[in-house]
């Protein structure tokens, strides 16, 4: 009985970690190229909405995912344009984008759906992997998830490989470390940063879909609930390494899952806000722990210009 609870908890952890994981993987690539994209919270919301709206109008859930990725990428393009070409302050730009996107989505929500009840869709169902999912304990945890979760985990490995084992990844990291040196090596700093930020945005949009189209199964303008912000700190916690970010996301998924379960078991005894607060406090604690140790791309959040 206890084992069941624990297995259930871990399974939920992996499932709940998916949006965190996707968003932070996208942000990892971003930050490795030297751009701090704080707009993740807003991009996730945009992606969640685009995915939801797309899926309800076309009736096809995969088209919904496509919309999520596409609009996330567009938002990434905007961020790239502002921070790479116009060299604006990345912190402020990110925050402004969140505010802007939140407002935009709320506006579009009213316009497109009005006050009518939101349609229900054919959600992305869980896919069980044969044989592997029968393995006791690990089986249900790892192999009874929905496709986006599988995608996210595989993505973590793929990104790790690209970043650390290929020339392209080397270029990305060089651009994030010392763009001036990378420039003298003949690396196109601007192109690489643009690609990374757009990619980060696209995956961020997908992360939003992971919420609205699979795990939470509806849409509301407050549904991202700070996950985007946490995703940013997960990148730091994961030391800008996709595999470590994977670990950190699972940790947070676990924390979120735990918090929800605690609420249902203990909810009557403590004000529910106390539980909701846990992720935020955790994020702060993480940040503190992580900021103490130095590291990270040396050129993070510093715009590059040749004639500096």
């Amino acid at each position: 009985m206890v084992l069941d609870i624990i297995v259930g908890l871990f399974q939920a952890a992996v499932r709940i970690a998916t949006p965190y994981l996707l968003a932070s993987l996208g942000e990892t690539i971003d930050q490795n190229s030297g751009v701090l994209n704080l707009g993740v919270e807003g991009i996730m919301l945009l992606g969640a909405f685009a995915g939801f709206a797309g899926a309800s109008f076309t009736g096809n859930i995969f088209l919904g995912l496509f919309f999520g990725i596409f609009f996330g990428g567009l938002a990434g393009l905007l961020m790239a344009f502002l921070s790479v070409t116009l060299r604006t302050d990345q912190t402020i730009t990110g925050v402004v984008i969140v505010i802007l996107l939140e407002g935009l989505v709320a506006y579009l929500l009213r316009i497109i759906f009005g006050t009518s009840v939101l349609p229900s869709l054919h959600w992305l169902e869980t896919i069980e992997i044969p044989i592997l999912s029968q393995v006791p304990i690990i089986g249900p945890i790892l192999f009874k998830q929905n496709p986006l979760t599988y995608f996210a985990i595989i993505l973590a490995f793929v990104l790790w490989f690209i970043l650390f084992k290929t020339n392209f990844g080397l270029k990305i990291r060089a651009v994030g470390e010392n763009p001036k040196a990378a420039d003298t090596f003949g690396v196109d700093v601007f192109k690489i940063r643009y690609l990374c930020v757009i990619f980060g945005g696209a995956i961020g949009g997908l992360a939003g879909c992971a919420l609205s189209l699979t795990y939470v199964k509806f849409f509301a303008e407050w549904m991202i609930g700070g996950r985007g912000w946490i995703a940013v700190s997960l990148v730091i916690l994961g030391r800008w390494n996709p595999l470590k970010v994977l670990a950190a996301s699972l940790l947070f998924g676990g924390a979120d899952a735990l918090q929800m379960r605690l609420q249902s078991y203990l909810g009557l005894q403590f004000p529910y806000q106390m539980f909701l607060v846990i992720p935020y406090i955790l994020a702060i604690v993480t940040l503190v722990i992580v900021s103490r140790r130095r590291g990270g791309p040396s050129s993070l959040a510093i715009p590059y210009s040749r004639e500096d």
Partner: protein, 547 residues
Amino acid sequence: MILKTQFSALLKSISTIIGRKTERIRLLENLRIGEPALVMEGIVKRFSGVIANDYIDFEVRKGEIHALLGENGAGKSTLMNILYGLYRADEGKILLGGEEVNINSPKDALELGIGMVHQHFMLVNKFTVKENLALGSMSPKGLLIENAKITKRVEELTKKYGLKLDLDCEIWQLSVGEQQRVEITKALYQGADLLVLDEPTSVLTPQEVKELFMSLRRMVAEGLTIIFITHKLNEIMAISNRVTVLRKGKHIATLDTSRTSRKELAKLVLGEEFTLGLEKPSSSKSNNEILLVKNLWALDDLGIDALKSISFSLKKGEILGVVGVSGNGQKELAEVITGLRRAKNGEILLKGNNITGKTPEEISKKGVGYIPEDRMTTGLLMDFTVAENEILKAPLLDKLFLNRREISKYAEDAILEFDIRTPSKDTPTKHLSGGNLQKLILSRELRLKPQVLIAAQPTRGLDVRATQYIWNKLLTERLKGVGILLISEDLDEIFCLSDRIMIFFDGYIVGEGTPKSFSIEEIGKMMTGTKRLDCGKNGKFVAEKSS
């Protein structure tokens, strides 16, 4: 006809260079020694009202070592940055091997066979040597990092030019001389025919300079062409075939080195007769100790011992020169004494009072002045005005409410006394030239009447006139009885000014005495060989946080 040569050169380059898939235009390959390899005609470059390059004509012949000489701000670096594609010229054209070329980015320059070794190394600190070379290997189609190919190619280059490298070291673990070797290898690896070196010897010991020159001669023997930017006259005489002098953005003259002299070059650079040297009056020092350092130990930013068992005394009215290549503990010594860094062990006594571990504010108030080596990053608040910088350490700041009039007067007095050239006291400091920035720092420190002054690289990057000014000011303070700790890499400076010297190596004092008791060779030997860590994954890189 030229196209044909280009194509055959292209095929040749593809077959000789392993793994290279990009097209390279080897315009210089088929030239004979002595023919013009590079011609820059009528180059003009302006920066917000300043003309950095004023219709400059510059010609370099194949197979020569051509020195580009001029004071700071003369336009040498700008010209070479244009050549390398980091800047775009406003007017003028560039011809390589007789063909006009368009260089819009370093990538273009690399494809044309132009390699540059910058004064401030353009290497990615956290990456290994191998990764840095891989970055420059220009095979974008390749997916995986080609470890084997890189190793092989580097071995070839080592055999050819004698540049030894440890591929798995991360850049920050290497000594400055070794880093420079990586820079040079990087340029050669990318197949440079024309190599530009920007002030390469400013960070090397005398031995390393010798080794560098040997490598350069070998390169030239193999058909490479070299441009050597410098302001050191003796090096020009030693290594170059021809020398071009720039002054204030204009091309002044191009001469055969064998047919000129240091004196003539100095005259061309400065535009007038100028004697470098000064009268050092006999010291008025007493035997009164003003600063005593006992068994001082301290860690550097990486957590490694930077100062080991340092003990010395500084007397009133004496200039104690600290000699050594950067990175042997000098910076940490200055920081510990001024309170910017904690000591692991040991004591510092100022006139008998223990100042170890006190805050920078307290130490400053007790009479220790500091001229830091990075004047722009540590010594000044560049976005503040001249006046605001002047009062940074002044007692004026102790009062809650700032008195505008007092501050104005304080600043104006300083500007007058130290002849600081600035449009007004309310000009942002970033608009001032290097020499005036240094005068500002000097004025700020000296007006507080310190008893001990620590001057780190006080004339680095300054022109001759500013250097003379600073030297004279230091000597004046010396006569007043101030004890000066002079940290410098410039051996001329140390020898001219110091009463006594200490030689630093690896955090220890390896030599001490009057300047006369050492020969340059002896000092060079003692300075040599900065610390080298065990390379590999044991070392942890700790970056400077920028926020």
